[in-house]
């Protein structure tokens, strides 16, 4: 299939693997901070191809996984309000809250709908003017522009029953926090889709302040291996810098139109990340100007007190200081069928990816 086969070409892959093996002499640890990368690495069996001295670890790149349990509890509380429809991306519905999940709530009759685009949520709001629709806005820089456009569209259409509950976050503060917390990594495999929107200048602080390299990578096997090769070269020559491998989609400036839409609707706020705690200016709140579309400002709901999961080490997994298989619950008490922590829920979550594509040992 065009645009897929050429990036999954076995011969090109083996050339890249040979080159990596030739160039790489010292042990290095590379962290990917994009859930899509975690998924691809496991799906294509990339670790199996790499020499033993190159270790890949997964960072906080899955939006569902880093989201606070309180967010789920509050979304569930919203779903229990009368005349309310919740629209959400699919990943979120199975995430356990303190005592329920959106999936459970749907089973007992709450109106919770999985959408593929926020514009589907707008359509549902238009078709149900006698009800209120709350869209669960979640994701990093990749999905935020869509949410911004959703709000702008609702305004243009003068919809009064459309609301967004924002858990949108931005990536760089988390990338900085990981290094500040002395997680042992030598370089970042930079997020591909995030960078399509943001451009790459947002990562300049990584080599400048921390002396670590970053290569913005695509999602196919040749993309990932070429990126790993570029990082190997950076590490071997001790010349950390920001490089783009995913050149067919990413520029240093990014998508200006999308950036402006986000700036128009959202503003930075401190936000809580699972595993990392509160990070300054790492979350996005809806600006006062668009407050009428902000679910948090529009509805008071009683949210149950948070119950913490016992034994789950999602926090450490998200920081890359523990691998999913090091968790006592992994593949035993915690499986994709019956997840304890959010990393097991989303297909982008490190635990889910490790579970699904775990090796035979």
């Amino acid at each position: 299939m065009k645009y897929i086969d050429e990036y999954r070409d076995k011969d090109k892959v083996s050339v890249l693997v040979d080159e990596i093996k030739k160039r790489s002499t010292k042990p290095i640890t590379l962290m990917e901070v994009c859930g899509g990368h975690t998924m691809s690495i496991q799906k294509f069996g990339i670790p199996f191809l790499l020499p033993e001295n190159i270790k890949l670890i997964s960072g906080p790149g899955c939006p569902v996984c880093v989201t606070d349990r309180k967010y789920i509890d509050q979304a569930i509380a919203y779903s229990r309000m009368p005349n309310t429809i919740i629209a959400t991306y699919g990943d979120l519905i199975r995430v356990p809250g303190s005592s329920s999940s959106l999936e459970n709530e749907r089973a007992i009759g709450r109106d919770i709908r999985v959408v593929y685009s926020i514009l589907d949520a707008i359509k549902i709001a238009e078709d149900n003017l006698n009800k209120r629709l709350i869209f669960l806005g979640i994701g990093f820089e990749t999905t935020t522009p869509a949410t911004a456009i959703g709000i702008l569209t609702a305004k243009k259409k003068a919809l009064t029953n459309f609301f967004v509950y924002s858990a949108h976050k931005i990536m760089p503060p988390a990338m900085a926090a990981l290094i500040d917390e002395e997680v042992k990594i030598d370089a970042y495999i930079g997020p591909g889709h995030v960078s399509v929107i943001t451009g790459t200048n947002i990562y300049n602080f990584i080599p400048q302040k921390y002396g670590l390299g970053i290569v913005i990578a695509g999602f196919e096997p040749t993309d990932l291996l070429q990126s790993i090769l570029m990082l190997v070269k950076q590490c071997e020559t001790v010349k950390p810098r920001v490089e783009i491998q995913y050149g067919r989609a990413v520029t240093s400036q990014g998508n200006r139109i999308a950036q402006n839409k986000v700036k128009e609707v959202f503003e930075a706020r401190d936000d809580w990340w699972r595993g990392l705690g509160v990070l300054a200016n790492s979350g996005l709140a809806i600006k006062e100007k668009y407050a009428r579309y902000d679910a948090e400002k529009s509805f008071e709901v009683e949210v149950e007190p948070i119950k913490k999961e016992k034994g789950c080490i999602c926090g450490s997994v998200l920081k890359g200081i523990a691998k999913p298989i090091e968790c006592k619950l992994f593949a035993k008490a915690c499986t994709p069928m019956d997840p304890v922590g959010p990393c097991m829920v989303s297909s982008e979550g490190a635990c889910h990816a490790y579970y699904k594509y775990r090796d035979l040992n």
Binding site: M1, I4, R8, D9, K10, V13, S14, G35, G36, M39, Q42, K43, F44, G45, I46, P47, F48, L49, P63, V64, Y89, G90, D91, L92, I93, R94, V114, Y116, I138, G139, F140, T142, T143, H193, P221, T335, P336, M337, S346, S347, E348, Y355, K356, Y357, R358, D359, L360
Partner: protein, 340 residues
């Protein structure tokens, strides 16, 4: 009055029920056993081994590219019998109809069932109709049960007890078409992928295989339905003394299906099929059997996709297209589209 919709009276057991049975079901399923209309069908069977199976069908949407709930209701039960090595003969068909369901739609479904039964060479010999109040069902639910004749030599096929190291795994064509056809239809994704469900009866294809080999050469058969190819493979190696190795690049998949799976972040190995036969055969006869499959219209893209191995007993892995390795596992819950 010409009725256009199902009413509660159609399930009352009175005149309306009788009319529905005669004008829709008996008319379309017409055969000498059904037309007797006794309380049970009398089957002229002389056999020491019978296969017996049942399945309920609750598809949404009821109509989709490549078929409808009726096609699946027949093909699904025929296939369950056929992959056990049996010759499917007689089916029952029970309908639970929602009040208000359009009679035209019911007729379309019944016509598809009759057509699929004819193609598969089976007779629908008994049935039932119930009507529930509006909102208590989703249009129509269908249950079919089936009886087939099993010969002694094929008894081991359903358990796979004869599988040995060196055997080969075959599939008759591209995977994931049914699941992605339903997905596109159900969610109004506005993707012009033109994906058709593969739903079909597989017994004729299976016959064509037995024409070129001994009964003992076929060690195991399953139709890969819900849970996709992965579920069948897991069933194959679970708690066994051998392992399974599948080569991803040998597993046929259509470009449009692949594209849609990529777009939604679905693993095609986990996506449902309704006309895919997975077979484990004697390694020495595999090429022969493959050729026979490829000559059949339902096996044009058949392929040998993997091996039964001595290594990693009770487990299976996929050699990825780029030479990496990953484990084969069952799907947990429903596949959810990714956020980004």
């Amino acid at each position: 009055m010409i009725r256009k919709n199902i009413v509660l009276g159609h399930g009352s057991g009175g005149k309306l029920t009788d009319e529905l049975i005669r004008s829709v079901f008996v008319k379309r399923f017409d055969n000498e056993i059904l037309t007797v209309q006794g309380d049970s069908a009398i089957l002229p069977l002389r056999a020491s081994l019978l296969s017996f199976t049942t399945d309920s069908f609750v598809v949404n949407p009821l109509f989709f590219p490549g078929g409808n709930i009726g096609t699946i209701a027949i093909a699904g039960t025929v296939n369950d019998l056929a992959v056990s090595g049996a010759k499917p003969l007689y089916l029952s068909a029970a309908f639970i109809l929602e009040e208000g369901f359009p009679l035209d739609d019911l007729e379309q479904i019944v016509i598809s069932m009759a057509k699929e039964a004819r193609l598969a060479g089976v007779k629908i010999v008994t049935g039932d109709t119930k009507v529930v109040e509006r909102g208590h069902a989703d249009g129509v639910f269908i249950n079919t049960s089936g009886i087939g004749l099993l010969v002694e030599g094929r008894k081991a096929i359903s358990t796979g007890s004869g599988i040995a190291v060196g055997d080969k795994i075959l599939i008759n064509g591209p995977i994931a078409n049914h699941g992605m056809a339903i997905m596109a239809e159900r969610n109004n994704l506005n993707i012009s992928a033109d994906i058709k469900s593969d739903c079909t009866s597989l017994n004729a294809l299976i016959n064509s295989v037995f024409n070129v080999c001994d009964e003992s050469d076929v060690k195991f058969m399953r139709d890969a339905t819900r849970g996709g190819l992965s579920s069948v493979l897991c069933e194959l190696f679970d708690k066994k003394t051998f392992g399974v190795e599948v080569r991803e690049d040998r597993v046929p998949i259509d470009d449009n299906v692949m594209g849609m799976c990529e777009l939604l972040g679905f693993d095609p190995f986990h996506v449902a099929n309704e006309g895919k036969l997975v077979m484990v055969v004697d390694g020495k006869k595999a090429e022969n059997i493959l050729n026979a499959m490829q000559k059949h219209p339902l096996g044009k893209q058949a392929a040998i996709i993997g091996d039964i191995t001595a290594s990693h007993p009770g487990k299976g892995h996929i050699i990825t297209g780029v030479g990496g390795k990953r484990v084969i596992d069952r799907l947990a819950g429903e596949q959810l589209p990714r956020i980004c």
